[in-house]
Structure formats: C-alpha cells, structure tokens
Amino acid sequence: MSVLTLRGAPPERLDLNGITPLALSLLSEAEAARLPVGTSRRGLTLGDCFAIRLDGSADLVIEGGHERLDRVGGGLSEGTIRVEGDVGQRLGEAMAGGELTVSGSAGPFAATAATGGRITIKGDAGEAAGGAIYAAKAGLDGATLVIEGEAGERLGDRMRRGLILANRAGRLTGARMIAGTIAALSVGDHPGYGMRRGTLLLGAHGTLTPTFVETGHHDLVYLRLLARSLSRLSPAHAELARRPLKRYSGDLATLAKGEIWAAA
C-alpha cells in the first residue's frame, strides 16, 4: 500500500489529477516527489506537500485530506484510492475504473465525467456532485457515486449514465438529466428540472415543478430489479424502492421521457 501523507494545510489549491496507483507504480519516490501539483507561480511539487511512501501496489492512501485538494483520483482507471479527510472540487473527474473512497467531505463537481468505477463519499458533497462542469456535455457518465451524507444543490446535473445514491440532497436534484438513475432518501425543491430521460427514486421531496404529471401507482418488475441492485450498495435505498411509490412523468418542458418515483 502506497501512502501520501499531507505535510500541512496547503498554501494554495493543489491539482492531484493523474496521481493514481498506476501512475505512481511507474515512478521512484524521488521521481514522484517532482510531480507538479501546485496551481500558482511557486511551482509546488508533490514532494513539497506530501511525505511519499511507495511500494508499487494498486492501493494508495492519502492521509490528511484538505478542501484544497482538487481532482483527487482524476483519471483513475484501476486500483483503489482512499482519502483520510476532505477533498476539493472534481473528485474522481473522468475516472474510468477502480474504487475511490473519501472519509470526509468533497467539494463541488465530485465524479464529474466519471465513466466507470465506484466513488464513495462518507461525509457531504458540494454542489453538482455527479454534475457537469461549465460547458461540459455531461456530468456522471457511467460510474457509481455513493454519498453517505448530504449532497448540495444540482446533484447529478446533466448526468448521462450511471448511478448516484445520496442520503439527502438539495434542490434541483437530477436537473437536466440526460439519462441514468439517482436514488435519494430526501431532496429539496424542483427535482428533475429540465430532465430529458432518466429515473429519480425519492423518499421525501420538496415542491415538484408543474411540468411533472402523476401517472399513478405501478408494480413493475423494473422496480424489483432496481431494489435488488441497490441492496448491494445501501439497504435503506433498496427498501425505498420496495415501498409503495407514485410515478411522475416529465419534464414536460423537454423530451418528457424522465420519471420520478416518489414514496407514496
């Protein structure tokens, strides 16, 4: 198990994109220490900010997180990364595989453009977790994102495929969704605003927009399969899928092929 230990609070935002077990396995500790991670003119390197211990394994631990650590796990394709602490924006950006776990909270845009693997945030997530960054075509794009705490606004904004689980989430959950599935035990107002396709499974929710219409109660095989799939990740979400649910269709302002399943 390779270990990066944060020496102290970073004096500037650090960009850890590409710092993965696979990338580090090809480098000596001295070479890894020279990797640029700073975002100012000071040219900070990995060795300036972290004590580095590498063993070439597929598991990497980052001890001592901080909200200024951006793009942690960015580009991860195999192996595991575990962060003991908080992280900044774009956790696991464009991740394609492997497993990424954060014991603390994450900044905005966690798991943006992630196409594979699993990202778990034990604490809270900032705005637009699983959402698209500025001008990007899509947010989450095939990966699985589990937020055990509270997600901010715009959870899964413009996500294209994949699965997001959250305990609680803010307003505009699933906004502008292209496709995919989001399950949350409670969300704020206007879930699914502008969604084209996709599925929202919600416990409690705030105000629905008038552009979602109720289409009744249904007992579908799909819901039982969804519950079985969710039970591997979260029994509470699986239980939600087994409860009596009302189905809403929308967003009628767009393609209207999306659906909200809400606890009856």
């Binding site: 500037e12 935002r13 975002t39 100012s40 200024r68 924006q89 500025y134 001008a135 552009t211 302002a253």
Partner: protein, 341 residues
C-alpha cells in the same frame, strides 16, 4: 493627482511602486472588477499574466448564466435597437425585465421596419412569482403542447407563435443558467414556425465587453487563472468572491474606472484599487489610485447597451488624472524591478 497608500496621500510614482511590490510578492493575486475602458482591461490581462493572477469581472454571475446556456445549446439573440424597430410582440420575463427602461420605449412606439412595420405592438409579461426558471419551463411545456388547457402560459404561447417578430426580454442574473437554457430552447421551438429572438438586459457594467476581449486574449471566458503560466478557465475556482472569502487570494487589483458597487472584500484583502474620479477615497483599499473616467475625462472603448456592441466613447471634457491603462502598464513595468530586487 490623487493616490493613497494605507490612507496617506502619496505621489503617483510611489503608489505605482507600492502596487508593484504588493502584487509581485503575492502568491495568488486576483484581478477583478474590470469595469473600465477596454485599453485598461487589456492592460489588466497582461498584468494578470505576469503576476500569475486570476481574473474575474463585475457582473460575471449573469455573464456565466448566459455563457453556460450558450455553450449548451446556442442562442437566438437581438439588440434593443432591433427590438424597438421590428418587434410586434415582446414578452418580459421576470421583475427586472418588466421594469426595464426599454419597456417604456417599446410602449411609446410601434415597429417601423421589417415584416411587422406599422403593426400594433403587443407587450406581454410572464408571471415569475417563485422561481423564474420554473415559470419558463411551464411556458415551454404549453408551447410544446405537452401541457394543455386554460392557463396564462397557454395564452402567452399562442401569442408568441402568432408573432411576426417576437422578442423575449429577460435579466440573466435573475433567470439563472437553467432558466436561460430553457428560454433559449423555447426560442428554438418557436422559430420552427415563426421568428422570435431573445434579448438579455445588461448588468450595467462592462462584462459584455470583457467577454470578447478575454476570448481574443486567452481563448476563454473571463474567469481565467495564470498561476500555471497558461490561461486556465475555471468559473468555480476563479470566482473572485470565493477566492477572497476562502483566503486563497492574498492580494488584489480592483479596476473600476467607471462607477459601480464595490465588493465587500475590498477592505479585507490587500488591494490596489484603481477608481474613477469621484469614487476614489483614501480608505477604500490599501492602495488607491484615482484614474480618469472613460467618456468623461478620457476617451475609451466601452460596451454600448443600445447597440449591443463595443464602441468608442470620446471624452466629454478633460481630466488631470491618468488613464487607467497607463497606470496598470506602469505597475507591470514595476514588477520586473521588484522581482529582480
């Protein structure tokens, strides 16, 4: 001449030297405001590139709401002058649009050219009580025929489809990115059978001129950072208010040769403030340099709201104060000597 360092009046050279020292020693400076003539904004970008600073502009909340929607699906836009000259149907979305001065001009005239010349002009308003983006979505659902029945939005949708030259007026900061994206999509739906454009109200600052300048200078929209040498675009990371609040920024240059509201962080962050005549005061920031106001004491290229274009505005009078561009260039030249020292 009016310049102050830590509240004490000094000569321009001393203020410029202090500004160069402050910015050259900073780890993560920000260059913000940019509510000024384009020559000064251009100089500010050069200064940012040399100091590794990040850039943000006044009014960028609305700017990015517009740009986000534009990047997603494009936009059908027109200008205030075209709206007055050609529009037979105008829909005001939101409180700011309903009370815009343009509405009075539209009420007092009728289209004089184009397909609707001589026609009566219909002014409509969309009730946006609550979330304006939701009101726009509801209107679009009626326009698409996905919602049916008697509803004010159904009447508005019918009126827009019947327009020969329709214009939808809105305030980008009020409507937000989601609402604007929905509005532009509504515009696309309407343009399948008629002719409808959108017109966003300006913020009153120079952000619309800064956007193209930033694009031709960096290839990006205004929120760019030069910390790693090349311009990086990141609207979240380089939000000046966030940088100041989080403590990531340790110095700032605030450029506002035109009158505008000042941010709350100006007094808290070590700042060089270039302020137009009348707005400059010793206690506004650590270093304050008064500069000539474009269009008053000095000529300058500015955003023309009516024409929706960048245009030169000649000086109405004279000023003893220097132009902002010259001051910023002097600070930039001073950086080299500070860094060599």
């Amino acid at each position: 001449m009016a310049a102050w360092v830590k509240g004490q009046e000094v000569g321009l050279d001393a203020a410029v030297s202090a500004a160069a020292a402050l910015l050259s020693s900073a780890r993560a400076p920000i260059v913000a405001g940019l509510n000024a003539e384009l020559s000064a904004v251009r100089a500010a970008f050069r200064l940012a590139a040399e100091t590794g600073a990040s850039v943000d502009t006044l009014g960028s909340e609305g700017t990015y709401a517009e740009l986000g929607a534009l990047s997603r699906g494009g936009a059908m836009t027109t200008t205030p002058a075209e709206t007055i000259g050609r529009a037979d149907t105008v829909l005001a979305v939101g409180a700011a649009a309903r009370s815009a001065p343009l509405i009075d001009a539209l009420r007092a005239s009728r289209p004089s050219r184009g397909v609707a010349a001589g026609a009566e002009r219909t002014l409509l308003t969309l009730d946006t009580a609550g979330d304006p983006a939701v009101a726009v979505a509801t209107l679009r659902a009626y326009a698409k025929g996905h919602l049916a029945g008697e509803h004010p939005s159904a009447d508005i949708a019918r009126a827009l489809f019947a327009a020969r030259f329709g214009v939808i007026l809105y305030d980008p900061a009020e409507l937000g990115e989601f609402g604007i994206e929905m509005l532009q999509a509504l515009g696309r739906d309407l343009n399948e059978s008629t002719r409808v454009f959108t017109l966003s109200l300006g913020s009153g600052s120079q952000d619309r001129a800064v956007v193209p300048l930033s694009a031709w200078t960096t290839g990006q929209a205004p929120r760019v950072g030069f910390g790693r040498g090349l311009p990086e675009h990141d609207p979240w990371r380089f939000d000046a208010a966030r940088l100041a609040a989080s403590g990531e920024a340790d110095a700032a240059l605030w450029l506002a040769s035109l009158p505008c509201e000042r941010p709350g962080w100006l007094g808290r962050l070590r700042t060089v403030a270039l302020l137009g005549e009348g707005a400059a005061a010793p206690d506004v920031a650590e270093i304050v340099i008064a500069v000539a106001v474009p269009g008053e004491g000095v000529g300058g290229t500015l955003w023309d709201e009516g024409r929706a274009a960048i245009a030169y505005r000649p000086a109405a009078g004279t000023s003893a104060l220097p132009a902002a561009a010259g001051v910023i260039e002097a600070i930039r030249r001073g950086l080299a000597s500070k860094e060599a020292a």
